[in-house]
């Protein structure tokens, strides 16, 4: 049996992303060197929405890229099947820029670890920051987010699912618990 609980509505998601957009602006003292980089799949539309929010209140279009981390994962050998590799397309020169990685859920931190390695191969940014819609805890690496939409305490048996209209048809975040 599955328990399903909505933890963020479409409006909550919109408000969280607008707040993150303001925090990115504030933290970096302006946006001239900021680049948003979404991690596929759902980090990409999230990065685009943060950029749209920034364009709304600052009138600036910050560059948005995407970074596929499949080839940097540490579990190719243990997982058995190779995952489909996604697209990477990033502002050609990230050197000296403030790169803000955007993802939907921060969990073990292994995806972010892979993304940091991938970024290092693409250039040398002035700094790398991390924005996530949900931080669900259970980190396995010394990694933390700079901008968080919502902190959600979870147990490992639960699943946190971010649904976005661009991919899933509607905006919401749900938490699912399976009873034995």
């Amino acid at each position: 049996m599955k328990d399903r609980k909505q933890i963020l509505t479409a409006d909550d998601i919109r408000r969280a992303l607008v707040r993150i957009a303001h925090e990115i602006d504030e933290r970096n003292g302006g946006l001239q060197d900021v680049i948003l980089v979404g991690i596929p799949r759902r980090g990409v539309p999230l990065a685009e929405r943060v950029a749209a929010a920034i364009a709304d209140f600052e009138g600036v279009q910050v560059p948005v890229g995407q970074l596929d981390i499949t080839l940097y994962r540490d579990d190719l050998r243990t997982r058995g099947l190779s995952a489909q590799v996604g697209k990477t397309s990033i502002h050609p020169d990230i050197t000296g820029k403030a790169v803000v990685l955007v993802d939907d859920v921060l969990y073990t931190g292994r995806t972010v670890r892979a993304a940091l390695d991938a970024i290092a191969d693409l250039g040398r940014p002035a700094c790398i920051q991390l924005a996530v819609l949900i931080d669900r805890g259970h980190r396995e690496l010394p990694i933390r987010a700079d901008f968080v939409g919502k902190n959600v305490p979870t147990s490992r048996s639960e699943r946190v699912m971010v649904h976005l209209r661009d991919i899933d048809g509607a905006d919401e975040v749900v938490i699912e618990r399976t009873h034995q």
Binding site: T70, L71, L76, Q84, S89, D121
Partner: protein, 310 residues
């Protein structure tokens, strides 16, 4: 997370469906992006051992596989057995068992005997990729051809592709026919009867093929014309009256280049005999994608190595 269709070996395209080919082409696109970076390397295959076993001469295929494996951070060992006594079945098995014991994870094999990669696959616990075996198959060439066609023309389905030249001896032609027909292209084979063999042989496996002995007719409305290398030994075997006559009837001459127009892709798997099956003008024309084929070969091989390492 989407995972790829699982397989242990890539020996031919006869066992590959359109969905799997599609997955490989998508992965190839991502690998091509990696190759466009300043640092052309990702850590996906770090610590894996790839052995290139080349029992037959090859420049581009061997270097292409080596660059592909290195771009994925694998360890690469090149084993060349040119002119050695390793060509007998039993010693090939011994070689493969030795490589197994030495810790090889993926074996890439080029061999003059059709079917040799199947033998290797039976005695090797890792993955085997066929880099060309006799007249049988050259799957990585076919996949890079498919990728190049789609990159330039946006699709493969419903295209008219003419393969012209020494088809009967060509492993490239056989693998290309599998790949192209699976992806929905219309394939015409064009060659003199001595370099084609009996039509019924081809039609028995691929009834959808068109067979022609007249290139000027066959290339009408073609989206792609692919010329195959004419091996000079064929002349000695009495299969051809003269090179000049072959060129006149089956070569991509400057006159045929003009006939084809700007939108027909010209392809060649290399190495070329310029002035025989293809004129220098055709090889370097704006609609020639021969160099793209070579470049894309590295990305296709990366995609296969990555998938087999999973």
């Amino acid at each position: 997370m989407t995972t790829n269709t699982h397989r242990n070996h890539v020996i031919d395209l006869d066992d590959m469906g359109s969905e799997e080919i599609e997955e490989i082409l998508v992965t190839t696109d991502s690998m091509k992006e990696v190759l466009s970076r300043e640092i052309k390397q990702v850590p996906a295959l770090r610590g894996r051992n790839v052995v290139n076993m080349f029992f037959e001469d090859s420049t581009r295929t061997r270097i292409s596989f080596e660059l592909a494996a290195r771009a994925l951070s694998a360890n690469v060992v090149n084993f060349t057995a040119r002119g050695s006594s390793v060509e007998k079945g039993e010693s090939l098995i011994d070689t493969v068992r030795t490589l197994q014991s030495l810790g090889a994870d993926i074996v890439v094999i080029r061999h003059s005997q059709s079917g040799a990669p199947y033998l290797v696959a039976r005695h090797f616990q890792g993955a085997v990729i066929n880099a060309g075996d006799g007249r049988h198959a050259h799957p990585t060439q076919a996949l890079l051809d498919l990728f190049t066609i789609r990159e330039r023309l946006g699709q493969i389905r419903d295209l008219k592709v003419v393969i012209v030249g020494d088809i009967v001896h060509s492993r490239v032609a056989r693998s290309d026919i599998w790949g192209l027909t699976r992806m929905g292209a219309h394939v015409t084979l064009c060659a003199p009867p001595t370099l084609l063999g009996p039509s019924k042989y081809w039609l028995a496996t691929w009834p959808e093929l068109t067979i022609s002995h007249n290139l000027d007719e066959a290339m009408q409305g073609a989206d792609v014309v692919m010329a195959l290398r004419l091996q000079k030994e064929r002349m000695q075997a009495g299969l051809l009256p003269s090179l000049r006559e072959y060129t006149r009837a089956y070569g991509i001459t400057p006159e045929r280049l003009a006939q084809l127009g700007d939108n027909t892709l010209i392809m060649h798997p290399g190495p070329m005999n310029e002035g025989v099956e293809i004129s220098p003008e055709a090889a370097t024309a704006p609609n020639s994608v021969i160099e793209d084929q070579v470049t894309n070969g590295v990305a296709v091989r990366m995609a296969l190595l990555y998938r087999l390492a999973g």
